[in-house]
């Protein structure tokens, strides 16, 4: 069942060493996909310690077990929506290694006797390679419309049920009732690829990379002020500076870890390890692996104001606090960025951030609030400066005037 270690993929090429759509080359590189019974698959995934690569970081085995415990035949969904503009790891994965992602989907669907296996693909991703790779496999590649929250678990299920990209009340868990009312397993495309690797090479091999608490490798999308933006594969728990190195950061002032719902790590702290424990003081998590480098010449408050305006526009507009609160946050951040000298702005922004947190059907307001709070914390120097009428990043024009 498990392939000899000598032929297993190298550390940096576990996921990125794919063969594209070439099925024969894929099989030569990774070996034949195993057919595993649910018990064996569950054991391997549990021992591997694999956690979700879509942002939630939830233990994959726990999710699989919950869905498999349902009374009806489940639906297995691969999430390749990649709604976050800064992220391109799923796009890269589906172009360079679609077969591995689909292997993961199939091994799970087979073991769980799933009624349906679906790969949901967002509009930013070229579905050509994965559609080609899906020929002859018992699964559906379903292209869906995009948007920041289109990949949110319940919003995705709602779309697959024929509805809009709008989240559902999380009281009913999709693991109990999802697509068509069936227990539904939603896993990120990269997580599926990792499952395919674990099924072939076993938990011990998987754990030979990464840390004890967070094993394996994962994909990181590096964007922003770097010479070579792109997607890299690195061990979990790596040092942030080392993960960024191949992209060659230019004049970094801070790194946004986790994308628009993430948090900042200032340049002085780039030697932090990308682990839950070391990122906790920054209120950051690895999330879906986005690392956005902000350079010293860009005003972080400007950047944040644009991000929050975007996030406000991406609200599903279902839930009152989010629908109303995010635009309020965007407006206040913009005022701070342009230099409105209202000393109440920071506290008002903090108040509104707290107000929207936990008061919506999904984590969109929570993540947005986290980003905002981190911005005010890490860049408190900029906040004071702007209130004093100048910008450390040299932002011009900075309106010099009384509060309005």
């Amino acid at each position: 069942m498990s392939t000899p270690v000598a032929t297993t993929p190298a550390l940096s090429r576990r996921l990125l060493g794919g063969a594209g759509t070439d099925r024969a080359a894929h099989l030569a590189r990774y070996g034949a996909p195993p057919h595993l019974r649910l018990d064996d698959l569950l054991q391997a995934v549990t021992e591997s310690g694999l956690t979700g690569r879509g942002g939630g970081g939830f233990p994959t085995a726990t999710k699989v077990r919950a869905v498999a415990a349902g009374s009806r035949k489940p639906v297995v969904v691969g999430n390749a929506m990649e709604g976050e503009p800064l992220s391109s790891k799923d796009a890269v994965l589906l172009t360079h290694n679609p077969h591995l992602v689909l292997d993961g989907l199939e091994v799970l669907a087979r073991a769980m006797h799933a009624k349906r296996a679906i790969l949901a693909v967002g509009p930013e991703i070229d579905a050509g390679p994965v559609t080609a790779a899906a020929r002859g496999r018992r699964l559906d590649v379903v292209p869906l419309e995009g948007g920041f929250i289109a990949g949110q678990e319940t919003a995705l299920v709602n779309q697959l049920d024929g509805g809009a990209a709008m989240p559902r009340d999380p009281f009913t868990r999709v693991t109990e009732s999802g697509v068509g009312g069936r227990p539904t397993l939603v896993l990120n495309a990269e997580t599926l690829a990792q499952v395919a690797l674990v099924a072939r090479y076993g938990a011990a091999w998987f754990r030979s990379a990464g840390t004890g608490d967070d094993p394996g490798t994962s994909l990181f999308t590096i964007t922003g002020s770097v010479a070579s933006p792109g997607v890299v594969e690195a061990e979990r728990g790596s040092v942030l500076r080392e993960v960024l190195a191949p992209a060659e950061p230019l004049r970094p002032a801070a790194v946004l870890v986790g994308g628009y719902h993430g948090a900042w790590v200032p340049v002085a702290d780039l030697d932090v390890r990308l682990t839950g424990a070391e990122l906790a003081p920054y209120h950051a998590t690895v999330g879906a692996g986005i690392l956005h480098v902000l350079d010293g010449g860009t005003c972080p408050l400007d950047f944040a104001a644009d991000v929050v305006a975007y996030l406000a526009g991406e609200s599903a507009r279902q839930c009152g606090p989010c629908l109303n609160g995010l635009p309020r946050l965007a407006t206040d951040l913009k005022r701070l960025a342009v230099g409105v000298r209202d000393p109440d702005l920071p506290s008002e922004v903090r108040r509104m951030s707290a107000l929207v947190t936990g008061r919506g059907a999904c984590a969109h307001p929570d993540g947005s609030a986290r980003f905002v709070a981190s911005t005010l914390d890490v860049f408190r120097g900029h906040v004071s400066a702007h209130l004093g009428g100048w910008c450390p990043s040299g932002r011009q024009p900075l309106r010099v005037g009384r509060a309005s």
């Binding site: 709008m166 559902r168 009340d169 009281f171 009152g320 109303n324 107000l355 936990g358 008061r359 059907a361």
Partner: protein
């Protein structure tokens, strides 16, 4: 076993009957939507408030409320 009050935010429209019936549990935010005083997502419903909470659940015009038993 504690009883908690859950707001279905996809349904809540800021009508406000619940805040009137459970003033010790819920306040109103800037936009008219209920905010638990405790800051929890699903606030605990104390023994003495259970009747009022049941009224609130039954009478929410959007049917956005439910009570449930949680382990803690």
């Amino acid at each position: 076993m504690t009883t908690r009050l859950h707001v279905d935010w996809t349904r809540c429209d800021g009508h406000g009957s619940c805040v009137e019936l459970l003033p010790r549990l819920l306040g109103v935010d800037d936009f008219g939507f209920p905010v638990p005083h405790s800051g929890e997502r699903d606030p605990v419903v104390p023994r003495g408030e259970e009747d009022a909470a049941r009224h609130a659940v039954r009478n929410c015009p959007l049917m956005a409320l439910r009570m449930y038993d949680a382990a803690s």
